[in-house]
C-alpha cells in the first residue's frame, strides 16, 4: 500500500483560548457534552463528580471590593506532550489505556481498555480527567440524541477530552473520498471551538505555519498552565491582564515570572 502517505508530517493539534474574549457563558462545556455523549445526573452540583471534559474555571485576583477582578478560564484536556510524549497521565496508566500520539499530539483515552484504577487522574494536575462514578443513564427518550461517532462510556472508567477526534476522523474520511490525503484547517474544529459564541477559542495544528494557532501561541500575552512542571501542554491562553498570566503558574513570593525559565519544547 501507499507508504508515501505514511510519512505525512506529524501534526500537533492545539488550542489558543483568548481569555479577554471568553465570557464564561458555558457554551463550550455544553457543546462538548452534546458532541461527546457526556451523561448527566439529577444533581450535578458536586462539581468534583460532574463530568465536563472542558470546564470553565472562574479565577479572581483575590483583591477586596471594588478592586476585585474575575477571569474565566476554559480548561479542556491540555494534551500535554511532557517530555517526548510522556505526559503526566500517559506514563502512569498501567494498562496502556491512555496514549500519546506523535502524529496528532493528541492524548487518547480508550474507555474499553481502561479498568478504572484512576492513577491518571491523580497524575493530572489540571483535573482534566473524569471518572464515571455511575452508569450513564439518559432519561426519557434522550438516548435518541446520542451521537454514533462517540461511544458512550460505561461506569468505572476514566474519560476526558480528545479534541473531538471523531471530527478529525470524519474530516479525513471526506478528504479521502475526495482524493485528498490531508484536510484543511477549517475542516477539523472541535465542538467547543465551533460553538463558542465569542470566538475565543482557536484550534489548529501548532506545527503548521499557516494555521491561526501558530501565530497566536507566539503572542506576548500567551501563556500555558503550569509550564514550570514540565507538562508541556498544547493549550495556550491569551490574556492582556498580568495577574491572569501569573495565575497560570505558581511562583514563590518575590519571584518574577519573566525571569523564570520555563521548560520549553
Amino acid at each position: 500500500m501507499k507508504k508515501e502517505h505514511n510519512h505525512m508530517k506529524n501534526k500537533k493539534f492545539g488550542m489558543c483560548i483568548d481569555l479577554d474574549k471568553c465570557t464564561g457563558c458555558g457554551s463550550c462545556m455544553v457543546a462538548c457534552m452534546s458532541e461527546n455523549n457526556v451523561p448527566f445526573r439529577e444533581d450535578e452540583t458536586d462539581k468534583r463528580k460532574s463530568i465536563t471534559w472542558i470546564t470553565v474555571y472562574k479565577i479572581t485576583n483575590n483583591r477586596p471590593f471594588p478592586d476585585t477582578e474575575v477571569c474565566y478560564m476554559p480548561r479542556p484536556c491540555m494534551h500535554c506532550e511532557g517530555h517526548d510524549g510522556h505526559s503526566p497521565c500517559v506514563s502512569v496508566c498501567p494498562a496502556t489505556a491512555t496514549d500519546y500520539d506523535m502524529a496528532t499530539g493528541i492524548v487518547s483515552q480508550i474507555y474499553t481498555r481502561c479498568f478504572g484504577c484512576r492513577y491518571c487522574m491523580g497524575a493530572c494536575p489540571y483535573h482534566a480527567r473524569y471518572f464515571n462514578w455511575w452508569d450513564p443513564v439518559w432519561p426519557a427518550e434522550m438516548e435518541k440524541y446520542l451521537s454514533p461517532d462517540v461511544s458512550p462510556r460505561m461506569r468505572g472508567v476514566v474519560e476526558k477530552c480528545n479534541f473531538c477526534y471523531s471530527r478529525y476522523q470524519r474530516a479525513l474520511d471526506k478528504a479521502y473520498c475526495e482524493g485528498r490525503s490531508d484536510i484543511e484547517e477549517d475542516e477539523y474544529q472541535t465542538a467547543c471551538t465551533q460553538g463558542c459564541p465569542a470566538g475565543a477559542i482557536t484550534f489548529g495544528d501548532l506545527n503548521n505555519k499557516s494555521h491561526a494557532v501558530y501565530k497566536l501561541k507566539k503572542s506576548p500575552n500567551a501563556f500555558r498552565l503550569l509550564e514550570r512542571l514540565g507538562t508541556n501542554p498544547k493549550v495556550y491562553y491569551l490574556s492582556s491582564k498580568e495577574w491572569v498570566r501569573k495565575a497560570g503558574d505558581n511562583y514563590i513570593k518575590g519571584e518574577n515570572p519573566k525571569n523564570i525559565k520555563k521548560s520549553h519544547h
Binding site: 479577554d20 474574549k21 465570557t23 464564561g24 457563558c25 458555558g26 457554551s27 462545556m29 455544553v30 457543546a31 457534552m33 452534546s34 458532541e35 455523549n37 448527566f40 439529577e42 444533581d43 450535578e44 452540583t45 458536586d46 462539581k47 460532574s50 465536563t52 470553565v56 472562574k58 479572581t60 483575590n62 483583591r63 477586596p64 471590593f65 471594588p66 476585585t68 477582578e69 474575575v70 477571569c71 474565566y72 474507555y111 474499553t112 452508569d135 450513564p136 432519561p139 426519557a140 427518550e141 434522550m142 438516548e143 435518541k144 440524541y145 446520542l146 451521537s147 454514533p148 458512550p152 460505561m154 461506569r155 465542538a191 465551533q194 460553538g195 463558542c196 459564541p197 465569542a198 470566538g199
Partner: protein, 727 residues
Amino acid sequence: MKIDRRSFLSLGIGAAAGTALTPIPWKMMDDSAIWTQNWWLTPVPAGGEVTYKTTACTLCPGGCGLRIRMVENRAIKVEGLEKHPVNDGGICPIGLSGIQLLYGGTRVKMPLKKVNGKFVKISWKDAISEIALKLKVLRDKGDAYKLSCLTGSDKDVTSLLLKRFINTIGSNNFFANTTISDSYEFVIKKVHNIEGSMSFDLENSDFILSFGSGIIDGFVSPLKMIRAHSRIKEQGGKIVQIEPRLSNTAAKADKWIPVNPGSEGMLALGLLHVIVKEKLYKSNIVSDNTSNFEKFRRLIIPNTTLNKAAETTGIDSKTIEKLGRGFANARKPVAIFGRGKGDSPIGFGEAGLVYILNYLTGNINKKGGLFITDNKKYINWPEIVKDEITNAGLDKSRMDGAGAGSFEDTKYITSRLADLMESKDQKSISALFIYNENPCYTLSDSKKINKAIEAVPLVVSFSSYLDETTAKADYILPNHTNLERLQDVPSVPSGITGGLVSLSKPVVKPMYDTKNTGDVIISLAKAMGGNIAESFAWSSFETCLKSTFKDQWNALDKDGFWFNPGKSTRQCPDLDFSKLLDINLSSIQPQGSKSKFPLVLIPKETMRISSGYIADPPFAVKVIPDTVLKNNDQVVEINPETAKKYGLHDTKYAILTTPFGEVKVKIHTYNGIMEGVIAMSKGLGHIGYDKFINGKGENFNRLIGPVEDPDSGLDIAWGIRAKLTRA
C-alpha cells in the same frame, strides 16, 4: 478396580490441567472483559447517514440560526448556523440543550383536559370543540372581552394570530410579556412621538457606557451581543459597566463602577449635568432639532444635581465628571441601558435620561451609536371580519388601563394580570390563553399569580412542557417543540440594525400527539364559525406563514433567514425635552422599609440559566456553578464585610426575607459585590417540569412584587429590600 477419592482427585487434576490447555479460561476471561464493554447499562447509539438541517432557535428572543446534525431521522446535536447575522456559528448553552427539551421527559405528549383536578387525555377534536363552545357561551353572555391572552412576545406570527383571534372574538385584552424592548419603544414614542425601537451598534463603538446591561450575560439577543463584545475587544473599544455587582460583563469591562442599586438614572442625570455644564454635547444637534432644551439645561445645571447624583449613586463626583467627559469626548460613544438580560422594562426616568445622553453626543443613527429602528410590522393580513359582538368588545378599553389616559403610550400592563384574574367585577378575566409564556413562574410576585390563576374559569395552555402555569391549566393543547415546529423568528432589534427574520423549521417529525399552535388557532377559529372562521381563511398555519412572508419566503425556506442590513432604520426626528422635565427618579428605589430590610436583593443573570418561560434543560443545569446552586439549595452572593456584619458565613445557611416572602438560602461571600447588596440567580426554583429541572433553588420572582413605573405603568421591579438572618 476401585474408584476412590484418589481417582476423583486425579480426574479433577487432569481436568484442571486439561482445561488450562483449552480456550475456555482464556476465552472466558477475554469475553467477560468484552462483556463489561458492551453491557446493557451502556447504550449503543445507532449509526446512519449524517445530514444537517437549518432552523432557528425559539428558546429565547435572541433569534439565533441553528444547524441541526441529524443521523437518519434523529436529531443529534444543535449547532449554530454559520453566516447567520445573529450568531454566525456560535451557540449558547440553552440553545444547545434544546435537543433535551425535544427528547426529554417534560413534554406534554397529547392534549389534556383537567377533570376534577387531574389531567385526562382528550382528542384534539373534542378539545377544540369544547373550547369553542365555551368561547361561544362567553360571547353570548356579552363577556367576549373577558377572553384574554398572554404570549411571550407580540412579534411572531403565532402570537399575532392569537391576538387576531381574541380581537375577532371581541376582546382587546391581549397581553405580552414586557421587556426592555417595551421601554425602548416607550422612550421613542414619548420623546419623538413615533413608533420605533432602539438598537445599539456596540461593535463599532469606541466607548460603551452600560447602565447595568449584561452585554455578555444574555442581553436581549445574547449571541449577537457576545459577538459584538469580541469585536470590541479586537478593536480596542472601551466598556464601562455600571452596576452594583461584578457581573461577567463588569468583569470583562475596562472599568467597573459599582453603583447603588436602582440609582442608575441619577448617574445618567449627573453625567448629563457634566456634559451640559461643560458644553461637551454636539451643539448642532441641540440647536437644530430640539425643543425645550433650555428648560432642561436650567433644570440640571445647578451643582446640586451633581452632588445629589454622587450621593444617591455612591460614586464620587470626580468620577462622575471624569466619566461624563470621557463619554462625551469619545469618537463613537454609546450608552446602553436595560439591566441584566433586559427581561424587565425600566422606568422612563432612567431610560429617558440615558437616551438623552446618547442623543447629546450626536450618535443617533451613526455608526457605533444608537439606531432608531422601524417598528413597522411585517404582517399585512386582511382586516378581521367583525360581527356585533366583536365590535362591542373592541369598543371597550383595555382592562389593564394601557393605551389610554396617562398610559396612552403603553401597550400592556402585564403585571396587572393577577388583579384582573382575581377580580370579581366587570374587569375580570374569564378565559385565558397562554402561549410561550409561563406567568406562574416569570411574573413578579409569582405566589399571587399562582393563586389568582385558579380563579379563572378557563385557562388554555399551548405549552409543550409541563411548566408551572400549564399545570394549572384547564386544557393543554401542546405545541410542537423548538425542533419540531414551523415558526417565524423575528429578530429583536437591540443588536441588529437591519431587518431580520429567521425561520424555525421542523427537523424531526413530531414525537408525540402535539400540534402547531398556529394550526390549533386556525382550527379553533373554524370551529367557532361565522366571522371568526372568516377571519382565519388560511387552510393551515403553513399557508398563513407563506402568505405572510410572500417574497421573503424563498429566502427563509432556503437559507433559514432573511436579512436586509440597511432596512428598518428610521430618520432621527426632533426631540422634545419637555417630556423629561418632571422625571421622577424616586420610584426606582427598591420596595420595602429600610429599617426592617437593611439589604437590597438584586437578581443575578447569566447565560447558563434561562430565566424566561423555558426552564434550564439538564445540560444547562449541569454547568451552573456550585456557587449558585449547591444540591438543591440556592446560593446567594454577598460581600464578605456584609456577611461579617450579619454574622453569616460562606457556604452556611441563612434565611432570606423580603416583603414578599422568605426562603432558605446558602451564603457565598464574594468580593465582587457592593456592601449591603445580595445577589440571587434568576431562573431557578422551578416546580413544574421533571426532576432534572425542578426543585433546584428558589424562584427569584417569588420574592419581588410588581413596581409600576409612574410614567409607563410597566413593571420595573428589579431589586427589593431584604434581610438575611442566620438559619
